[in-house]
Symmetry: C2
Subunit: 423 residues, 2 copies
Amino acid sequence: MDIKDYMHTLGQQARVAATAMARASTRAKNDALSELARLLLGAGTTLAEANARDIAAAEAAGLSAPMVDRLRLTEKVIATMAEGCDQLAAMPDPVGEITGVKRRPTGISVGQMRVPLGVFGMIYESRPNVTIEAASLAIKSGNACILRGGSEAIQSNLALWKLVGQALESAGLPVEAVQLVETTDRAAVGELITMPTFVDVIIPRGGKGLIERISREAKVPVIKHLDGNCHTYVDAEFDLEKALVVTENAKTQKYSPCNATESLLVHEQAAASFLPRIGAIFAAKGVEMRCDAASKSILATVPGANVVDATEEDWSTEYLAPIISVKLVGSVTEAIAHINLYSSHHTDAILTTNHPNAMQFLREVDSSSVMVNASTRFADGFEYGLGAEIGISTDKIHARGPVGLEGLTSQKWVVLGDGHVRG
Amino acid sequence: MDIKDYMHTLGQQARVAATAMARASTRAKNDALSELARLLLGAGTTLAEANARDIAAAEAAGLSAPMVDRLRLTEKVIATMAEGCDQLAAMPDPVGEITGVKRRPTGISVGQMRVPLGVFGMIYESRPNVTIEAASLAIKSGNACILRGGSEAIQSNLALWKLVGQALESAGLPVEAVQLVETTDRAAVGELITMPTFVDVIIPRGGKGLIERISREAKVPVIKHLDGNCHTYVDAEFDLEKALVVTENAKTQKYSPCNATESLLVHEQAAASFLPRIGAIFAAKGVEMRCDAASKSILATVPGANVVDATEEDWSTEYLAPIISVKLVGSVTEAIAHINLYSSHHTDAILTTNHPNAMQFLREVDSSSVMVNASTRFADGFEYGLGAEIGISTDKIHARGPVGLEGLTSQKWVVLGDGHVRG
């Protein structure tokens, strides 16, 4: 198989399907999603067989247990995929919304209409449920998509994709609206990201290496999600009990998500009351604390605390592990400067009872999500009410933060006249 | 001078300035704009001297008369620049606007805050007034910018930039918010488009060659404006007199703008009444008609008409000249298919009295501006009420069509809680 020809064929088919999807009725799109949910719940045996083949191959290849676990299509994973499809079916259709129509002095009316982006390419690793997330978001947003999953999940992805095709067909929508790259040849990725004629945007989900490589080589726009070096800052005036609960949740509720807090900044005036108590919580949970000198002098006195000296590198590190960097600052301004320098612009929070400081933090922290008195763990499309997310963007243009249906659309201008001409 | 060091220095200074600009008060930004307007109106002699040097050099270099004309800072051009600054000062500040705040079931409130993009790089040719347009839009939108004008306008650009610096200083804003690349070395462009650490987005304005080169080589997002192959489609049911006036305006009001109509599609049922009349108008104005066989058979009978056979290439050509391609179609669906195939996705219009056809055209034409019963010449930031435009985007992500203040911003998520944690 010539990979270039193959990918161009997928691209051409996607372009044609995208036109049909852009004009598809809300009902047809919702019907496809409901049918997909039904098919998922009914396909237990087929999915289990396909998944078992991926699992066996992964185990034979010596993949680590957590890697193998990520491949598993358990009943719970399947139920969650089906629920996601049903939720999307129940959401308002973003396509066709016309906003901001204003009459201009010339007499024309000018507004904006929300439209699908066209064709998106999705490149992802391991978890096969991403196949359904991407497919369902594409259907509801009226886009076509070309999916390239990890080779280790190819059998599961093929089985899931077959259901997507059935659902599209049953709703009278083109099956080419969602295409899966059937070859595991890596050259397919290189083609997918360099076909601007057929693909409008690339959404990579995976490790930093994958995303950096794609950003470097792509010839189309990339909505990228790099790392989440998230901060929680405890201000001088704060509610001690709430700060403890939020900081504990932000760091320890789960260690692996990108929205977990990796760095704790504490105002000098808050240190004496806050640090020993959060230090005890971290000590009890086995969280290693990498500290500047000032915070170390306090935290080192906490019984059982694992306290080490932070290096410069720690301030910009996303641990995704029971490790947190800790630093004292003299003001909210200093905290903001530290965050804007070291943060990955993903999610950062202030815990404060001081309103001007809260507002300054909201305005000046240059991150895709900025929070007041809430856990950074909330940075998530579902928590934000987007219904689902295709990813979390750490870019500054187009979409920042969790990207849902709206991020898969853009707005074109509409002008309504009655024979108007420009003078 | 080491160009890389020089550009990195500009980049570092821009990053620092961007932070100050993002938090600048609306008053300070408006003061800078009003002062800039005042300085422009008072700088006649200085600007005239600098401009005369560019003109002399351009004439000595044998540039064509239209090219030399584009360089001229006439009193009218200066007055228009000053008026633009005053208009921007009077516009609402886009920065800090918080929208869509909703309470989520978890208790957190989630919304979005509009923020500047950070640093944009602007690459443009000839017309020195772009220096002021870009600088003033940067100031109002709270961004920093690095401007790289054409070498043929370097003296004029330096003189204008000096005024921008004075205006920023008088308002207490950092002069590095607007920096002009002082060298005409072409390597500076190569650096500017490959410094993702310092530059968030590149906006090129100029010929197709320049923009394609920049898009190909840039390592940061590019808001690009490629060609404007705009269509006007006359439907089966239409108002003859209005259609004549709009079509004439769309094609002949000016030939060089990107929003001028380059291709005329006419429904077969409209051809007999519409084509001879518009053909006579085009004939009188010396507009060459490049026709398919069906339209040629009608237009060839018009006295004085310059009618030739269209080639396949004509359907995708932006003439920017008194030439128009003409084709008959059998339905609005056929017109839409032709436009989506050949249009540059800039601006396309339908002239119709049929409401379903108008709505179908609005929904299905995949262009940055879609119009009903209006001249394509309206596609312009000022006409749309944006106050000014930094360019017209033919991209699909981030901003489509005229890009004004809002296109130079994006939205970050804000989350307000009261000690909320994720369960």
